[in-house]
Symmetry: C2
Subunit: 402 residues, 2 copies
């Protein structure tokens, strides 16, 4: 047999492990609520668009070219204006295969091994792992309840400047920050733009949760305060419609977008999904989002109730104001990497905090996603988790019997 | 304004040019025949599957995990057995976003700047440009009517071995080779496997046109003769169903596939397209392919007729036995890079041969794709091309008036 292991370069990524199905209590991954997938109206939208424009599937890029299906870009342009106060034309939009491709494309365009990037110190695990893989030096900025600590950011930028290090970008998830769930204030958004201009460092604004604030309107995007082309903005339909539809988008000034586009070498993202979304969204987006937010809020309530019931004051967290996850601080004697391993054996999948932070601040934290499990599974899974914690780490002292 | 140009690393790719629509006579790109897109049965398939399994769209990877939608992998496994004599289980298949992603993934897994790769000396432009971008040393093997010159390949491998250079893989499009349209004989397929084992060099078999032979069955894939895990095989639905559906696949021994999978960082390819294809293909694939082949054969006949009519003996080509393109050798005084530029001004897009060969063998050749233009457009476009050639290069001496 051919021996691949001795053949590959020594820094090749290690092998994937065969997938064996989901864990019974799945609190990881940005999965969404099964029952909220708008099957009927998606079907109607597809029926309509495929009969009308199906023949265009014969062309790579349909009749829209490499930036993605034009009616979808037109919807995104309108929607960003309405919900995020962003002014961008369809010419400044690139449809991508989910916001993960957006991350990869921006990274490929900007980064090389040894580069420096500024990020919120607790952050999306997929961002952290990508930057690690490239060999980027990540500098973490602490988070406050209203977003990044701007003073710390300014000091960091000053100190880097003195060392003649120019970071490649400031990466931020300002709205329902992953994993902390915080929302950056308008003042901080404006301050961030000012710093970006002052130090001439672009901002990469990852806004894939912004549609999911439960009870109020989202603040304007950082990008909306950008008059000088400093902000690269990405969004996604994964969280608002369905994760398995791999459709996200990037918007930036054409001078930037035209440098990112050549790295997209896949001849366009799936067109059927783009067509379906364009047709669906122009009629149903707002009403669908309302229903989805309600469902997610119920699940958020359910996980908070379960945490309170089984962990009591042992679990320190802020109640989610939107999104699909809660970030929980456990006592210092709980090693959450070990908790992760033990829980998985009992069918409970969680994100250990050290994968979601670039320093030790996450060592006693966990992230629990509540979008996909049912309310019953949420209750049962959190209970099992509390029982493991009690057995292994002696906390909580008591677990309520439901 | 932020100045991206002074900010990016010096080896960043140059900017994309804004897309302005297709040329009137579009003989480039692997587009397919508009009228052959099976709209009605695609719609029926989607309706059925979305009502049945639409809720699974709430999960990244549906219920199938990171290798792609299981029923689609099951169909591919069956189809590869039936049509290409390949034995692979669904566990040895990875669904990707078109065979272009397959190329990128295999390249990322195997290649670094300075590596050596063996390819047919006239080859797919997208493969050549990818390898150039990585900085790979390409060694070209001449093509004969029945595929790669195996003696030349063996000599090349011997000579590299003496220099202690181990190529990373042998890349081949054995069936309807792009651009030459040749089909590798069974004897050469077997010989290739022998050489692969002897020199311990994997083969990357790109088989995306294999379904499109007009009048006879395809030969077994090279992969079908591989008992020792030397062959990585990729295929696609772009050519057989629709290019804008971005769905292709890779199959290899799990020891190899498990090393490729970690480079797929997009959380799966579009699921709606995978579900639609799985449902469509299990009922309609064979009948659809028959219809498509007939339509493409008509267009192949049309372009050959047009070439004969307007270019006469000036255009030297082999009549396509399948696929969507014809490779044409023009007299030595025709600089086809210049022809490409002139033709584009007149609304005729062609592939100049030098982008489809790694040495000067393509300098007087052009590739014309005939899948997308109508029969009328084929005739008119080839006529305009002949007129440009006559005016610029003095050939053909006379152009027939139709």
């Amino acid at each position: 047999m051919f021996n691949i292991n001795s053949f590959l370069h020594s820094d090749a990524l290690g092998p994937a492990i065969e997938w064996k199905g989901y864990p019974k209590f799945n609190f990881i991954g940005g999965h969404n609520d099964n029952e909220s997938i708008p099957i009927t109206s998606l079907k109607e939208s597809i029926d309509k668009i495929i009969l009308k424009e199906g023949k265009t599937l014969a062309k790579y890029g349909l009749e829209s070219g490499p930036q993605g299906y034009l009616p979808l870009r037109q919807f995104i342009s309108k929607q960003l204006k309405k919900s995020a106060s962003i002014n961008c034309s369809e010419k400044e939009l690139l449809v991508v295969s989910g916001s993960l491709q957006a991350l990869d494309l921006v990274n490929q365009t900007f980064l090389k091994k040894g580069d420096t990037v500024i990020i919120e110190e607790e952050n999306y695990g997929g961002t952290i792992s990508r930057l690690r893989r490239i060999g980027v030096n990540m500098i973490g900025i602490p988070l406050e309840k209203d977003g990044m600590n701007i003073e710390a950011l300014e000091q960091t930028l000053e100190s880097l400047k003195k060392k003649k290090i120019r970071p490649r970008f400031i990466y931020t998830i300002p709205t329902i920050q992953n994993p902390t769930g915080t929302i950056m204030s308008v003042d901080k958004r404006k301050a961030l733009i000012k710093l970006s201009k002052k130090f001439e460092i672009p901002i990469f604004e990852d806004d894939c949760y912004a549609d999911l604030i439960f009870d109020k309107e989202r603040p304007p995007a950082i990008k909306s305060y950008d008059n000088d082309g400093y902000v690269i903005y990405c969004g996604s339909f994964s969280k608002s419609i369905a994760p398995a539809l791999r459709v996200g988008y990037l918007t930036a000034d054409w001078s930037i977008l035209s440098r990112i586009l050549p790295y997209k070498t896949d001849a366009g993202s799936g067109s059927l999904e783009q067509m379906a979304l364009a047709e669906f969204c122009k009629i149903n987006f707002d009403s669908h989002i309302k229903i989805l937010r309600n469902e997610l809020k119920k699940k958020s309530d359910a996980i908070c109730n379960a945490l309170d019931k089984y962990f009591g004051s042992t679990a320190d967290y802020n109640k989610p104001v939107g999104g699909i996850f809660v970030w929980i601080n456990l006592p210092n004697n709980v090693d959450t990497s070990r908790l992760y391993e033990l829980a998985l054996k009992d069918g409970v999948a969680i994100n250990p905090g050290n994968e979601w932070s670039i320093n030790s601040s996450g060592d006693h934290k966990i992230r629990l996603c509540f979008g996909n499990p049912s309310i019953e599974e949420i209750d049962e899974g959190v209970k099992i988790l509390a029982e493991i914690c009690q057995k292994e780490f002696g906390i909580p002292l008591q677990i309520a019997n439901s």
